[in-house]
């Protein structure tokens, strides 16, 4: 019996069309637009000016405070403008636009393809390098990685969990990375283990990627402390709390963090970025992005420079199908629909999915028949049917009592609802209002 998390979960169709497509390097665009707010926390402070010449890997915006992240140029060229640009959030936010000229990298970056296995750096150095490289959680949450690695006083990590679950349908970027960069990934995991001072790391992979499980289990023998584990396919197993539960059967307390129970979770993409940052001196300015869709001619996995317009990726994957009506940045369960395909790829872009018109609009909603499918689906043990009613009646204090803030917005309830009720929409509204209430109480 394969392990999985205990409570709730759903089985959306996997549709991993690009699973067998090796990672291709996407050709450089004419221009990149790099937002300074690509992570959770304060936007980075811009340190270049219009007209400046920049190189690949050069710092262009400095992390503002501890919970923030550095941003580096992904291309060489001239800073064309610094102004708010529409990004995948749907808002115009400050960004640096650079016209590409050649491909000149910072000389400090080690561009050799050799695997660098030997680790010199100590924990402090590793964390410092990760912060300098601007690494954030590449699974999509984009939380600055150095913050997660800085364990607060009084707490102790005893296990590192590496998220290779990729439970979102369609997406295959982590899958390809595990297959093609296995050894680099392993060294990255060792670096994270050293940074946290733990001697055990578990890589969780869903059973729909048997090739990755086999390969990583095989090579993990060369890296003491690291083991790969097959997990039963169930969404949202890639949720931090669900993955910890599945692998080591510990429950993060409501309102708490994984470190409260001695665990730290990082995505495989993040671990790979850590390898590059520490061993190769390479900041985070490119990532693997899945470009896919049922009618897209050539679903692909691309290595993309941050700031490349999404439209370039779609063009390289065969062009936008005529029937496209929705383009999503991220997975189909938690991703964000973009308003325009010119928006740039950011650090959190794990995939781009184009949906045909037939699958773009929600079906008409009907009344709740109290089937309890939402209750069974919720991985946090909440009651979405009740939360939507409370939210519609603006009973936000009651929603707090019903632990609405435990909701991680995985979308399982809305996915299952036979009445097509916008459960998650109303729960989000409730979360926003409850957060306001909590803030007001503190002040």
């Amino acid at each position: 019996m394969l392990k999985t998390f205990a409570k709730g979960g759903v089985h959306p169709p996997e549709n991993k069309f690009s699973a067998n497509r090796p990672i291709e390097v996407l050709s450089l665009p004419a221009k990149v637009t790099i937002p300074v707010s690509q992570h959770i926390g304060a936007p980075a402070t811009i340190v270049v000016s219009k007209g400046d010449k920049v190189k690949v890997g050069q710092l262009i915006a400095q992390g503002a405070g501890f919970v923030s992240a550095n941003i580096h140029s992904s291309v060489s060229g001239t800073v064309e403008s610094i102004e708010p640009v529409l990004d995948s959030s749907g808002y115009k936010r400050p960004a640096i636009t650079i016209a590409v000229e050649g491909d000149e990298w910072e000389p400090t970056i080690d561009r050799s393809p050799e695997l660098k296995r030997h680790i010199d750096a100590d924990a402090q150095t590793i964390i410092k390098k990760i912060a300098e490289a601007g690494i954030v959680g590449l699974g999509g949450a984009t939380f600055p990685s150095h913050v997660k690695l800085s364990v607060p006083a009084g707490k102790k990590a005893d296990v590192l969990i590496i998220n290779g679950v990729e439970c979102e349908p369609y997406l295959t970027s982590d899958h390809r990375l595990m297959l093609e960069k296995g050894h680099e990934l392993m060294v990255g995991i060792q670096l994270l283990m050293r940074a946290l001072n733990v001697d055990k790391a578990l890589v969780g992979i869903e059973n729909n990627k048997p090739d990755a499980i086999k390969y990583l289990s095989e090579i993990a023998k060369e890296y003491p402390g690291i083991t790969a584990h097959a997990l039963k396919v169930k969404y949202p197993q890639g949720g931090e709390k669900q993955l910890i539960k599945a692998l080591i059967n510990r429950e993060v307390p409501s309102g708490g963090l994984p470190i409260d129970i001695g665990a730290v979770v990082h995505n495989v993409g993040t671990a790979y970025a850590v390898y590059e940052a520490v061993q190769k001196n390479k900041p985070l300015f490119e990532r693997v992005v899945t470009v896919t869709g049922k009618n897209l001619p050539k679903p692909s996995n691309f290595l993309v420079r941050i700031g490349t317009p999404v439209s370039e990726l779609i063009a390289a994957a065969g062009g936008l199908p005529d029937d496209t009506a929705k383009v999503v940045n991220g997975g189909p369960m938690m991703g964000k629909a973009v308003t325009d395909i010119t928006v740039p790829v950011t650090k959190g872009t794990s995939g781009i999915i184009v949906f045909p018109a037939a699958e773009s609009k929600r079906k008409a909603e009907s009344v709740c028949i109290r089937c309890a499918k939402c209750v069974s689906a919720c991985p946090m043990g909440l009651e979405p049917y009740l939360l939507i009613r409370m939210s519609q009646r603006m009973m936000f204090d009651k929603m707090e009592h019903e632990r609405v803030l435990d909701c991680m917005e995985c979308g399982s309830c809305s996915f299952e609802c036979p009445a097509n009720l916008p459960l998650l929409d109303y729960i989000r509204l409730g979360k926003t209002e409850v957060n306001k209430i909590i803030r007001a109480r503190k002040n």
Binding site: E251, V328, S366, G411, L424
Partner: protein, 334 residues
């Protein structure tokens, strides 16, 4: 592409499940029982069932269109299920006007007056059955005999149900072994060779439908199995104490409305609890009440009353029996 992109919050995919499909699967699950009913009760079963479905759908349409003045929702299939279940809970020789009145009560009173689908506290088909049982006690308890009544409707040959034989016999002071020869064998009971409501007789056919509902994930095992288990254990204890005064547990499971009640009526989404634990409590309550009514009550059969009584407790159960939240109990092992 010139037209603008659709922008909506996540999730961007849906299971494709719909109220209509769920209802359709319930109808499908009831088809084996309907086939058995047609085999044993013939034209009576066909007429009563069609009339019941037709009047339920028609009343829903008329009430929504002319009284509530809303867009009729008869295509969601819920009125069809109510009509089918009401028919399955009455004798196949029930006069047409009782069928129509019962349908009106189910849809008009039990369902629509509470706000329609999703808002009714009591199972509409059962509420109608009990209302009709109290209003027309004679017609509602004259049970056509299987097979011989195939080509008859009102003029069907009738006889008592096994449960009624049991109740009468025990009342007269007979022992179980004295009553036994008037009652069909367990196997016959399981196949449905007995008098009874037109859709409740065949445990086998109803269990096939149960398997379908589980396979299609329309319902979970919790309510039916907790009802079966409670009835089995409770009547089993009574039987072990005094096998001459109490029927055996298998007899209790395959007679009367236990199968149809537990699988199709108690699991009605709207009138059953929302949480796994609540469902078990609900099933336990129905099982206990059924046995209490059967053994000590005035009626030979108690499933309908038991379900309706427990329906009334559902809001309370939903309020006090909450699912276990993730991270509620901090657990650390390993």
């Amino acid at each position: 592409m010139d037209s603008k992109l659709v922008v909506s919050p996540s999730p961007h995919v849906h299971s494709g499940e719909s109220t209509r499909r769920l209802m359709f699967n319930v109808v499908l699950a009831l088809m084996p029982a309907f086939a058995v009913s047609l085999y044993y009760f013939g034209i009576g079963a066909l007429f009563v069932t069609l009339l019941s479905i037709l009047s339920c759908v028609l009343f829903e349409y008329l009430i929504q269109k002319f009284i509530l003045k809303v867009q009729p929702t008869i295509t969601d299939g819920s009125a069809i299920v109510t009509g089918l279940l009401f028919a399955f809970n009455v004798p196949s020789n029930l006069p047409w006007y009782i069928v129509v009145t019962g349908s009106l009560f189910a849809i008009g009173v039990a369902k629509m007056s509470f706000g329609g689908l999703g808002s009714n506290p009591f199972n509409p088909a059962l509420a109608a059955r009990v209302f009709m049982l109290i209003s027309f006690p004679v017609q509602m308890t004259s049970w056509p005999l299987p097979i011989e009544s195939r080509l008859k409707y009102i003029d069907a040959v009738t006889g008592p149900t096994p449960l009624a034989i049991l109740k009468e016999g025990l009342k007269k002071g007979d022992t179980i072994s004295q009553i036994a020869d008037q009652i069909p064998s367990h196997l016959q009971l399981f196949m449905g060779v007995m008098g009874g409501s037109l859709g409740e007789i065949s445990a086998l056919a109803l269990l096939i439908g149960f398997a379908w509902l589980l396979y299609k994930k329309v319902i979970t095992w919790r309510i039916p199995i907790s009802i079966f288990a409670t009835i089995f254990v409770f009547t089993g204890i009574l039987w072990l104490i005094n096998p001459e005064q109490n029927a055996d547990p298998i007899f209790h499971l395959v007679t009367g409305g236990v199968m149809i009640g537990a699988i199709y009526m108690a699991t009605d989404y709207v009138t059953s609890p929302m949480h796994p634990k609540g469902m078990l409590i609900f099933g336990l309550g129905i099982g206990l009440l059924t046995v209490i009514i059967r053994v000590w009550g005035a009626y030979p059969e108690g499933v309908s009353f038991a379900i309706l009584i427990m329906n009334a407790f559902v809001p309370l159960i939903n309020r006090y029996v909450k699912p276990k939240r993730f991270g509620e109990e901090v657990k650390r092992n390993g």
